[in-house]
Amino acid sequence: MLKKGDYIVLLCIAVISLSALVTVNVVAKNGRTVIIKQDGKTVYSESLSKDNVVELENNTVVIKDSFAYVEKASCKNQICVKHTPINKSGEIIICLPNKVTVEIK
């Protein structure tokens, strides 16, 4: 069922995604600030090393041991809660239904 061209396409995709994976991990710098936004407006902007629990209307964000993660959320898909804790500059956890973003700068 598979032709020669299919394997070439699969190989290209594997190569590109591997190089992207390597690039992301090499370029990534440890973040310094946690910025939590609700509806696009910044509601929390503090150092990542400062332990804290931020209670938003529909989400609870925990900052501990220089990692940030979403502990609880009222959204249906819970993708933000299942997300692994973030600590690298540029990483971001998004709760689309509640319009909450947790970003590391």
Binding site: V24, I79, E91
Partner: protein, 174 residues
């Protein structure tokens, strides 16, 4: 069923309209099932069964039908089960993957599965592009996952399509 005469003398093929509407409804159901039932354990990754319909239409050279069904399905799906935000993501992914599918459909070195792999990957790439506009460069963090999942899911839907086509062809010969 007979052809209906429209206002400007344009004939509307009622049979074709019915067929495409049925396919669109089927597409809609596929999309709905995926949003409710968790087929893939990774968060937010869907199988893209709805793409099967568009792929089948393209393989029968019905480009206009493929676009019509796809766009109608995206609009209906966003209206019924989604939000304005999901509409933009759906359109970006759906339209881009369909355009690319139509462009490469004649490639002799690719099987239907290969075309589906490209289709799935392009869909995810363009959704990621929209995400970058929405939340910034940090979204690129997901590029490896999206490329691989797009390819894998594309391969799966392509396999389903190939099997369906075989059945259609053997049934036609009867």
């Amino acid at each position: 069923m007979s052809a209906k005469q429209g206002n400007g003398g344009n004939k509307i093929d009622a049979l074709r309209l019915c067929r495409l509407s049925l396919l669109c409804a089927l597409c809609l159901v596929f999309g709905y099932i995926e949003s409710v039932a968790v087929i893939v354990p990774i968060a937010g990754i869907k199988l893209g069964l709805a793409n099967c319909i568009a792929l089948l239409l393209v393989s029968f050279d019905d480009i206009k039908g493929a676009f019509a069904v796809n766009i109608a399905r995206i609009l209906l799906s966003a209206l019924l089960f989604g939000s304005p935000v999901s509409l933009i993501f759906s359109l970006a992914g759906g339209l881009s993957s369909l355009v690319v599918t139509c462009l490469i459909r004649k490639a002799k070195f690719l099987s239907l599965i290969g075309i589906s792999i490209v289709s799935g990957t392009v869909h995810n790439i363009f959704q990621l592009v929209v995400a970058v506009f929405a939340v910034g460069v940090g979204a690129l963090y997901y590029l490896p996952v999206l490329l691989v999942s797009g390819a894998v899911c594309g391969a799966l839907t392509g396999t389903v399509c190939t099997l369906i086509l075989k059945k259609i062809k053997t049934n036609r010969k009867k």
